[in-house]
Amino acid sequence: MLLGPALAVSAALFALGVLGVLLRRNAIVIFMCVELMLNAANLAFVAFAQQLGVAGQIFVFFVMAVAAAEAAVGLAIILAVYRHRHTVDLQHINLLKG
């Protein structure tokens, strides 16, 4: 029964992902941290799937598709921003505020 440890690892990875988002200003790195969070969720799904059946694994499959889609769009957006601002540092991307 690896559920408990797996969930702990998952929680840790999730928290690290959140921490990364909190700590970084580079848009790409932040996005990577988000991927980390998704993977933490995946780990939880897989761990549950071991107990509860295959649905969890199928969910992971879908999450990967989502991650791929997000990556495509997200990176395209980052490219678009870079074209305007020549930076991906979020500190300097604050035209919209107030």
């Binding site: 690892v9 840790a12 941290c33 989502v66 957006i77 678009a80």
Partner: protein, 167 residues
Amino acid sequence: MDGTRILFGGFAVLAIASAGLCITRRNPVASALWLVATLFSLAALFVLLDAQFIAVLQVLVYAGAIMVLFLFVIMLLNLGRAGPTDLKGPLGLGVGVLLAGLLLVQLLVLRQAGPAAGGPARATTEQGMIPTVARPLFTAYLVPFEITSLLLLAAIVGAVVLAKRKL
């Protein structure tokens, strides 16, 4: 059983350590590579959790395809050199660690929690194999499966729209 546990522990430590390095490396390329390391570790964990097919996908799709995309963009934007750090200052660090730590504390409640009793099907060793995963994918989970196809299509269209040279 013990071997599994030890292996699990090892890969878990590896995953967490690489994740920690991933979020703290100044160089985005380094971050990306450490993330790849995490993903590999996770793939190993998946195997240990009887999800072999997913583990393969993890390596192929995630580490292979998605992360390559990341690296490609990093290179494209010429962010490969270690520039000035994008880590936040002490205040940001403190706040971040505090918040993420609290979140971790909250989530660690889960460690004691067991999953629902009596799921639809108990785990079998066959579970992680391709047929067991694939069959429901095209029957019970047909609708979400088709949605993912649309999702990818939309993402492609979107990426093209945003990234193509000419309008």
